[in-house]
Symmetry: C2
């Protein structure tokens, strides 16, 4: 599959590398066509890897991952281009974290709205799926690095788009199908983005990011 | 120990009954001294159970549980009385859920503030500990009803108050000590109250409340 990765940070590089290893053609997009980090990634990753602008990557991919920082995702996606994203499945991995007021970060949008909804409203022809935003970049593509069952939460308005993303998560990245929890339409991103404040507190407690949430479900109570 | 329970709903009744069964003296407080539900609870629970106003319960308890609805907790606590709560440990179990805009509920306060912080600011002489707000009333006092490890999150500014609450949770209610995660000072209630939107979505998916979050923690990554 042809895949566009928007963003050259830890998340973008981790996903791009894994997807290229899986045999996909991957174009890493950034603000500038001359981004050295993206060029170096493409050079070292192999023949199926390439680099370009956000627009190049969006045009290239049938599946596109938004791995830009949450506070500039909407701008990055505008640079990627509404037409280049039309009809595409866009996996929104970003979180609207606001570090401007110190640590721990708060959220730029929350409670009655979410970044994923803002993106879906701004790009109505794009099929936005929120996923992978509640785990560290390393765990995203290596779930078995953390033993036992633990969950990913996905949501979005388009069932077929969610199926496509679940396929990449399970067959590609190795998440057990039963551990990918579909929590509803794109408004459920309010709930999954709101996990970040707790994630950040736990990161502060453990001093590392090799942890994740597991929803333990028992039988329905009787009576 | 003498314990005051503010609120006669499912949460208040569940906690009051368990605490009385454990041998504590428990007074259930409500808006009116003639609340029939509280009186019936006291009558059926035994000699160590009693009922009264919010103020009666707050005056009575050395440990007080806020089990009122989040949208009226501040008012209930004002009725309980600042002097009656001064120096006491107040376990805030409530969630600031706003059902006025339909389902799923949003939060009345979130992100850069929390209900627990509002309570702590309004009652500065009270030692507020946020706890138990992320599980169903049934699970609060019966953690083994859901097999395996799963977590409670607690936070607050007073270490001694948190130790006291952890004692009730572990020795009283049966939570394993390792499963009670202290996530920091009272500002961490922003994070734990923000779990509710996801809890509500999961409740919608499972159609029952016998579930909880387990934070799975691996070893720190190398290098």
């Amino acid at each position: 599959m042809k895949i566009g990765i928007l963003g050259t940070g830890m998340v973008g590089e981790s996903l791009a590398t894994k997807l290229a290893q899986l045999g996909h053609e991957v174009k890493m997009g950034s603000r500038s066509a001359n981004n050295e980090k993206a060029a170096a990634w493409a050079r070292t990753t192999g023949a199926k890897a390439s680099a370009g602008t956000f627009a190049d990557a969006a045009r290239f991919g049938e599946l596109v991952f938004n791995c830009t920082k949450g506070d500039s995702s909407l701008e990055a996606l505008r640079l990627a281009g509404e037409q280049n994203l039309a009809g595409k499945v866009l996996v929104d991995v970003s979180n609207p974290l606001d570090f401007s007021k110190g640590m721990p970060p708060s959220l730029l949008v929350s409670n009655t709205d979410s970044l994923a909804e803002q993106i879906q409203r701004a790009f109505p022809k794009t099929r936005v799926v929120k996923a992978l935003n509640t785990v560290n970049a390393f765990l995203m593509t290596r779930p078995s690095a953390l033993p036992g069952d633990h969950n990913l939460f996905i949501c979005g308005n388009d069932a077929e788009a969610k199926r496509k993303v679940v396929g990449v998560l399970t067959e590609g990245f190795g998440w057990r199908a039963g551990n990918v929890l579909d929590v509803g339409d794109i408004t459920a991103a309010r709930a999954t983005e709101s996990l970040l404040p707790l994630w950040v507190r736990l990161f502060g407690r453990f001093q590392h990011a090799n942890f994740n949430f597991h929803v333990v479900v028992g039988p329905a109570p009787q009576g």
